[in-house]
Amino acid sequence: MSYKDKLKTELFPTIWCPGCGIGLIMTQLAMVMDDLGLDKTNTVIVTGIGCTGRMGAYMQFDSVYTLHGRTLPVAEAIKTVRPELNVIVVSGDGDLTSIGGNHLLHAIRRNPSITVLCNNNEIYGLTGGQTGPTTPVGTKTVSSPEGATFSPVNLQGLVNTNGNAFYAKTTVYHQGQMRRAIKEAIEWPGFAFVDITSQCIENNGRRIGFPSANEMLNYYKKEYRQAPPGSTQLAYHQLGIVKGKPAEAEPVAVGAGSKNGSGEA
């Protein structure tokens, strides 16, 4: 088997712009799926709205292309009904953390055993480059001509409000590290969130001064550093995986019959 068997290559080229980072995520995900034996009989993909949401259409799996912001309730319910399945959510930062922010908050709390890959390009790309919840302060966008005003959402802090959860920070430049993060996230018994910094050259990068996607990738290479081994907290622009204590029992909220888990606290 090859990772290409996980992809509907007959639909290529994809809809994504030249230079987009999403394909780099899809390729690494497909490779991890190949390594772990994930196939259309044991795995479901759930995607949100935004450029990233198209990924499910390109993969050889049953895939649910949800409403904007609603990947997590759909994914959690699938995992509840079919605990034996691997449920992998792939979506963008706007979908997961802004319009879907309340679901993220509560999915973290309930700790379902699902994997979330967040294509974090710090912008609303599909709609033309408006400020997102992850846009750095001061970034000029088509909806913040004077620069973004508010601090980006603290995803690491949010995920780590649950002591059982898994948070990984990576970028599409750091392919090996991204692959490890995706693999460990899928294997994690509980909620696993992989925060993947990725370039949107067309609707963000060029506007903030990058001539090409290659320059953006080189910027990630220069700016991001691996966190020291054993770090329990990743600093700004540090790459790494922060794991909580693995949950011992099925999360309580997904099955009222269960008596253990963080949901009872």
Partner: protein, 357 residues
């Protein structure tokens, strides 16, 4: 024969279980909360039945869609404001063709309104609440036994039509306690019709307009219309087998009263004076039945817990004016019906003289 005292909301839960439901997600909201609570109690004793008290109604509505795709017959229960929050997901379920059941125990709106008082103001919301065109199927029982029966029918119809079906109730009906014998209600159960996720296919369940291969069809009117007509045809065809209604009382009277849900029960003392048409299938509107029955009567009166929502539908279907008795602000009582009839000069003399019991 096992007679028991049962509440309308609890009957909904029992009907769902009987229909084979194994997944409930919901958010507490009066006057529907007993369904959520009963579901949690049931789940605690039956591990195969999964229960989620979600963070809000948006999550609940999307969760039951995910659960249904995964293979479970699923449902949620809510009321006015929560039902409004679910509208986008209802449109999504229509787009995907997902069988699932939404229960709306109506209260007085808009907004937070009168949370514990009964209303029937969601008639048009159940038809047009989500954006775009879709074909709604909606049932509205009017007794505790019917809450049980039509919950089962709602699940059956959802499976056959592969669409979200709405079961309407209201604060009075949901909280009504009646003696029922559920063993006498025998509705065959329609099995699951949608092959569950991860059955070996590579399907794309997409809210976005797409071609069968998953490529976007977001600017192709022909493809859109083809898919829309196909879904509409299936739903209308299935709904024909669920054309439930009641036609009775004094059929020889000159005036036909149209009432549904709890309003039909409230209007019972009108029986000697009027004929009754009670739609149980609210949507698709019972057009053929109305067009057959209504011409026999000089006058039509729609008594309902909204300011003419169903009356306007009847007028449209019959091309004919109807008299309206709106019961607003939760004043759903025989007294309010009397006042309403008196206002339009159609109150029978002996009803005017009767004392309120």
């Amino acid at each position: 024969m096992a007679k028991r005292l049962l509440q309308g909301n609890e009957a909904v839960l029992l009907g769902a279980v009987k229909a084979g439901a194994t997944y409930f997600a919901g958010y507490p909201i009066s006057p529907s909360s007993e369904i959520l609570m009963a579901a949690s109690v049931y789940a605690a004793k039956h591990p195969e039945f999964r229960f989620l008290q979600a963070e809000d109604e948006i999550a609940s509505a999307n969760a039951i869609i995910g659960a249904s795709l995964a293979g479970a017959k699923s449902f949620t229960a809510t009321s006015g404001p929560g039902f409004s929050l679910m509208q986008e997901a209802i449109g999504y379920a229509h787009k995907l063709g997902v069988p699932t059941v939404f229960v709306d125990v109506q209260r007085v709106g808009p907004a937070t309104g009168m949370p514990t008082m009964p209303g029937q103001g969601d008639i048009l919301q159940t038809r047009y609440g989500s954006s775009g065109d879709y074909t709604s199927i909606v049932f509205y029982p009017s007794s505790v036994a019917e809450c049980y029966e039509y919950t089962i029918q709602a699940f059956n119809c959802a499976e056959e039509s592969q669409s979200p079906v709405v079961l309407l109730s209201d604060a009075f009906l949901g909280h009504l306690n009646e003696i029922v014998d559920l063993d006498t209600i025998d509705v065959p159960i329609v099995p699951r019709t949608l092959e569950p996720l991860a059955s070996g296919h590579t399907r794309l369940f997409s809210g976005v307009a797409t071609y069968p291969d998953g490529e976007p069809a977001t600017a192709d009117a022909d493809e859109f219309i083809r898919q829309y007509e196909e879904a509409k045809e299936r739903r209308l065809e299935v709904a024909e087998r669920y054309a439930f209604y009641e036609y009775g009382w004094n059929k020889d009277a000159e005036t036909l009263v149209i009432a549904f849900g709890i309003t039909r029960r409230i209007a019972q003392p009108l029986a000697p004076h009027f004929a009754l048409f009670r739609p149980i299938r609210i949507w698709p509107v019972l057009q053929d039945q109305l067009r057959e029955i209504a011409p026999r009567y000089k006058r039509l009166i729609v008594i309902e817990g909204s300011d003419g929502q169903y009356a306007s539908v009847v007028e449209r279907v019959l091309y004919r004016d109807v008299h309206r008795v709106p019961l607003l602000g939760g004043r759903m009582s025989l007294e309010a019906v009397r006042e309403g009839l008196d206002r339009i000069g159609l109150l029978p003399r002996d009803l005017a003289e009767a004392t309120v019991s």
